[in-house]
Symmetry: D2
Subunit: 355 residues, 4 copies
């Protein structure tokens, strides 16, 4: 009779965690694509953030991300009395750390203006210093010249839209017309803007979701339950910088945070079916049929509006198996609305459980 | 700008968890076999346990097990003033619940004698009441007549072996000689007995691990970290009662608890390699090579005794990716002892990381 | 440089937790009274519960309660094929364990009838077997003869009131008239019935809150955050069985669950002020005054409806200190509604923060 | 029957946590003194730390500390390519935030030299820039001139003492002789050096314990269990900067981390008795006496070496009540060693439980 303490000892006394370890974020690939988990909106001490840039790499590694962009403000430098302005500093400091962490690092910056037009992230640039210009149109033009993907940030932020409703102004239409706007944030930190789904569908833009973190990810999102931060899921042909860029310009994204998934139905529908698998009937009683649905993803799915006598509600908990009991009186397909998968401002994904 | 509270609402107000949900225990299959997660030692109010038998089914479902056996004591009935003795009661009460829970239920009972020979579980029996006899040999004979797999329980239990060391007595040799002993518990609750690996190897018996729970599994094992209970992993041809039985008589098992895995090397080695996958080199610096090892199982692996200049220690955390940095001066294979995978009384599994 | 592992060892290897330990539930006494934390509604295998009675004692000890009553159903015995009916069994089995656990054990039983009148707990009885009678009035009369406190259970339970609204029928008025009804459950498990506050005020009855647990407390309430179960707080002159009984008949109770407290204002108001203490101003800036409020209780308080320029909302987190910043322009008292302390069907507690 | 969701709503939808909240660290005062919880060793981006100085204030507030010192390295500035050297920067940046957070801020810096003499923190200085000098003796002299308390940091750090054993060199004796050394770190991050207790006793120095944090406190100490960081407990006459300083020069300290407390017996003994209270005997059986010990502190106490027939081990869990059962055969006092309270290199605190 030996107590298990010996094994605990083993962990504590001799094995030292000298190598970084990362969480596996359980989100499936789509057929033909790899799903890249990305956060394209992060700050550091080089603007109004509060941590050193390499911490963003370490956080992203531990969080299981594939790509990030550090996007310090161009026009807002509250720490400049202590830290001289260098818009490319975070990029220079993190490049090597990103390579060592197997992370795709996207060179970015945040163009920071009053509404309209509000804030934009320029992603995939090569020199943030060139974005210092008076006219915001000139700044966007320069970013485009560098090959940038332009993302409109938090369009309903209440500091710029007190009622929280995103609005498109003349300048936004102009940017769209020129092909100078490529995505809009649906998730920014813990906020979301349903209207963004309408804008993105109408103007064929990528739906984006990011943390916009200024502090520490683990304090803002991961306690007490190790929640994932808000992220953009990009469906890329390969796990490379260029493939990521191609996919974003093509608008192949979904966004994810807590228990909400949002984006275009053409991606949301196959994504849902990749997350779940319906098992065979394992038992029949006089009145009922029993089967299980496995949800191997980190996202729970709340199925609602089932037609009686089928179950009205089914919750497919994350990383779990859910047992379904269906009356033998059910003859029609098991159709449900997935209440936490938004495919439009007022639309949710519709699915069928085939057993 | 809408707060995510809307989604929280969704969870709380309208979606009711009317269907049972089970945890996915992340342990791989072996080539040609399915890994059945089993607990063959459980008590209820029908002997000295403290819960009703159907709770054992509900617990096993939620814990993600494939098979259990409720094994109330034949010779010990401390609640008999309130509950009349019926050695088959738990079996009768749970049969239907087990079917509805997709669980393989093994009819069992615990033969409860002083040492020698100690306690034995008779598994795969059909009538526990027939095991009420004076002579323990007669009881085992009757169990064998019913087709039982005989498991020697907690051979080093300090109530029966004050020094915690399992010992084989004449009666054990006699049982082995007759083919009337098929497995021995290495894990019982939070104890383990390394010597059992020697006995099992020598006499070709199955290595067993069980909870022997008398209370509530979630209170005894799952707090605060949702730890798995001790379990026997049985490598069966199919997920059926008969296939389980065949595999146990064939000795195809490993045992698992907390961060320890134990059993015969012929199963432990392929099991380890099914748990992990070594990724391609993703980065090279002047001096080092970088690659990642993914451990998709719930078991962390503590790799020790690496030969310099290779890393001396590597911990492959459970359900995580571990980044390995190896000096370019390393020319020999990356050989390690896996300190928490026991293949013998004083032996641990030896593995190689091929990148 | 020694690693702290030595201390971890200490915990694991040699110190065995052989003595029971209980949580301290942080809820203050009222001036002149001790606050007894009680659960007067619990089931075991002797009716439709699923655990053995002594587990109710162990749970209550660990949960930091002062008093419990096991109240198995008189008229509902679904396990009678295996367990012969004995309405006093749980009482007999737990008496000694309660003494050893420093718990006040109240002899009780649940009178289990269709609505009207629904279910009643008879508390402080001496023989539950005498409550087996056809007429529910006769049963209550017998309980009263034994000195019982009669509690109306879950008056809005949707199995008996599909719309969830408690209703008083002729029989309830009759019982009140005779002085045969003494309390009503406001909390039952995770449900609550605001109307009960109106009934209790009008007829001068005790507001009650209980778990009505049939399974395992730790699984139903304490995960993942070690939440307290629903409980009745009784303000007794001393921590004794008789003092508890006196206080209940006098109606000196509040009820508590999660972040909600409810009951009569005469108890809720002093209870709130015993929970918190307002510190001195520790800092003044040009525009603001800074002070702290300490909440030493397990209950957070949500203060709302502050009058500008005072803060509109203040959350006094449980077991925490909250820093308050108030504009120097504030001249009137800091008056708030405590949104989670209910003193009436549509009333919440009103308080002032005096700094 | 209303679901509790309404209250959850309340929390989520309308009450915003606009005011900072801090944890209550449960550690008692000593008679005549207030216990100030302090961390005198912290880094920021102004040397080799990775966060902005105001985050140290926010962390300390949330952690329930009374005083901190930010002690960036004088001689080590790895971020100087991006952040110009300013040894007083963190002090200037945090002064106002500290006032608003009710925190005592101690102006400090870390003198960073090879061993001997190793690293020293100069605390209670007024100009860190004046500490830039070639000779370490000159630096200490300047610090002393500013009124500094000199703390020898991590004397057994294995980068400077490969065997982990602290050693005093000529320069240390010289500093002590001049009265220029006032305290030594026993705890530094997760390490501790028992020999420091011998040094401090012999030369009448303060025992110190600090985090030496370079990253984020919550990631390094508070997950998953909200553990307190390493801290120095200073027994001051009042909660003021000057009173703190007086107490430190007088050596009135203990150090605390995880489940270990260390320091001079004259403080450890009364501290222990302030943490616990022994209740009255609440039950006697034929053979045993039952009473409870309440430990209202965050520190568990492991009592060992009880003399039979008294219990050999008693664990007084943190913030809990422990039930003690003592045989009536026990006639002598209940004397114990408190294994996790170190009063000397090889000594632990000895206590008596008087019931």
């Amino acid at each position: 009779m030996k107590k298990l303490i010996i094994i605990v000892l083993l962990l504590g006394s001799t094995v030292v965690l000298t190598y970084s370890q990362k969480k596996i974020v359980n989100l499936p690939d789509l057929p033909g694509y790899v799903t890249l988990k990305c956060d394209f909106h992060l700050h550091t001490v080089f603007s109004d953030g509060n941590i050193w840039p390499t911490m963003r790499i370490a956080e992203a590694y531990r969080n299981g991300l594939d790509a990030i962009s550090i996007t310090d403000h161009i026009e807002y430098s509250p720490k400049k009395d202590y830290i001289p302005i260098d818009h490319n500093a975070a990029w220079k400091i993190t490049q090597n750390a990103a390579k060592e962490a197997n992370l795709i690092l996207v060179h970015g910056a945040e163009i920071t203006r009053d509404m309209p037009p509000g804030h934009f992230n320029a992603l995939f640039i090569n020199d943030a210093s060139a974005l210092v210009k008076d006219s915001v149109i000139d700044v966007v033009e320069e970013a485009i010249r560098q090959g940038a993907f332009i993302q409109w940030n938090h369009p309903g932020w209440n500091a710029q839209q007190p009622d929280g409703i995103p609005r498109m102004y003349d300048i936004h239409y102009k940017l769209i017309e020129k092909g100078w706007l490529h995505g809009i944030e649906f998730f920014n930190d813990s906020e979301y803007y349903p209207l963004v789904l309408t804008f993105c569908r109408k103007y064929n833009l990528a739906v984006m979701g990011n943390s916009d973190n200024h502090w520490v990810i683990s304090e803002d999102y991961q306690q007490p339950e190790n929640t994932n931060r808000p992220m953009t899921l990009v469906f890329a042909k390969e796990r490379t910088h260029d493939s990521l860029k191609e996919a974003m310009f093509a608008g192949r994204t979904l966004v994810y945070f807590k228990d909400m998934l949002a984006g275009k139905e053409e991606y949301a529908k196959p994504f849902f079916y990749q997350c779940i698998s319906v098992g065979k009937v394992f038992h029949q009683s006089d009145n009922n049929i029993y089967f299980e649905v496995t949800n191997k993803s980190d996202i729970p799915f709340y199925l609602v509006n089932g037609a009686a006598p089928a179950p009205e509600y089914i919750t497919l908990a994350a990383n779990s198996v859910t047992r379904i009991v269906v009356s033998k009186k059910v003859t029609s397909p098991l159709l449900y609305d997935v209440r936490n998968v938004l495919t439009g401002e007022n639309e949710v994904l519709k699915v069928e459980l085939k057993y």
